[in-house]
Symmetry: none
Subunit: 144 residues, 4 copies
């Protein structure tokens, strides 16, 4: 199941709203459950360097069906997934990427946000994901 464009735009609109509430300037990407880009928006004054990070965060979240920050905990030096960022054309493993899970527990895509602190990036991504359902997957395997 893939997120529709109508829903992807809805998630982005909510994320932008949240970004404004906390006075930030974000890049926001939504990918479908195949990790292919569905929609993207760069707010005025957002960092140009955040374009690629937002897209990679969204892809990373759908690649492994988990928040990017969870992967980052495991990819630290000495961690079990050290260096995983070298796969899949480059991952981003700090917070700001979240799966989008619909009301049936199906991962329909993911949202990635970049442009501020990782706490803010995460908060904006969460707002976007929750506009469509939640960011929490049932235990693997989920349906896609």
């Amino acid at each position: 199941m893939h997120v529709t464009i109508e829903n992807a735009e809805r998630a982005i609109a909510r994320a932008v709203e949240k970004a404004r509430e906390i006075d930030t300037f974000m890049c926001i990407a939504v990918v479908d459950s195949g990790a292919d880009l569905k929609a993207f928006r760069r707010m005025d004054d957002a960092w140009v360097g955040s374009i690629d990070i937002a897209i990679k965060k969204a892809k990373t979240a759908v690649f492994f069906g988990m928040p990017t920050g969870e992967i980052g905990k495991l990819s630290q030096p000495g961690g079990s997934l050290y260096g995983i960022e070298h796969s899949n054309g480059g991952l981003i493993t700090f917070p700001g990427g979240l799966p989008i899970v619909d009301e049936n527990g199906v991962m329909v895509g993911a949202i990635g946000v970049s442009g501020s602190s990782v706490e803010n990036d995460h908060a904006v991504a969460l707002a976007g994901a929750q506009a469509l359902g939640s960011a929490e997957l049932p235990s693997h395997p989920w349906r896609t």
Copy 2:
């Protein structure tokens, strides 16, 4: 000068409207005058392979301040720009990418469309560009 996100979304909305009028399913990208992605939308049922093509068409149009199809005429075997597609991480030089020029003759970005015949791609890109001004640049050098 860069296209604002409000205007980028306006161009995409008009392009989507045009795409529906001619019964097509498009990927539509808008980049700013620095060739950096500003907004993107993939209509439901659009080809997955068109994501990258739409973005590359928009970048190509702004890279050289001209319609992608014009570059394609020069990049044919024996042509003066033969092989230019190998530059800049990959160009797309057939129609569907157009500069976006505001009412002051300033190139503020470009739009790239992929998902149907090149004639349709061009028509949808043109509708999007014209929502903000035109796709025709004054003679080079233009202001960006």
Copy 3:
């Protein structure tokens, strides 16, 4: 809808059988409807250079929902899609890649074959696709 691994293996097994009948040594790839690799087999004595070609043919076929050779007709010098091979990390646009369409007309993935003449590559890909349904899509948009 994505091809299952059981069906992907069935398509490859039939393709290998066909490859043997016509005395060839093939690389055979199956991707799902998101263009992500599902299964791959390189027959003994197949060209090493065919690994990447088989995978790219399968991806190309699913990217645009059509036989790779159809795209190749349009991407010749002077053609409307000249240079499209520069997109999506590199396309292969000569014959040997075919969509896999199930009995409901849904594109569930694609098969790519490389290792012999393009006629033989196509014949082997067709045998594989037909093991699961057909290689012929209803008119766009199909369901995925």
Copy 4:
């Protein structure tokens, strides 16, 4: 000496069996002694992000004739191989990739597994390698 396709498929079949025993969903790749892909299988519900990781683990194991986890011990900050992941188009240096060594002590290829914890990935790779011989190389130089 290269692993035959018959043997590569046998290793993958055993690895899949092991993956099921421990209730996981894996991507499994086998490369030959030249690090070129021989066979690949993605079980249904395996992470899409694991495709590239499984292939890179197999390549990494054959590139240096050792388990990927052994390289990872040396590539930590301050370690003698720090940053080696940047070579060869991207290495994966955590566990899950193992050489495949035949009964004569010849490295005929490698197997890479991704889709669960590194402990599970390793266990599944080991089952696959042992279906053909062992994962333990005689001291370097080994024969290939």
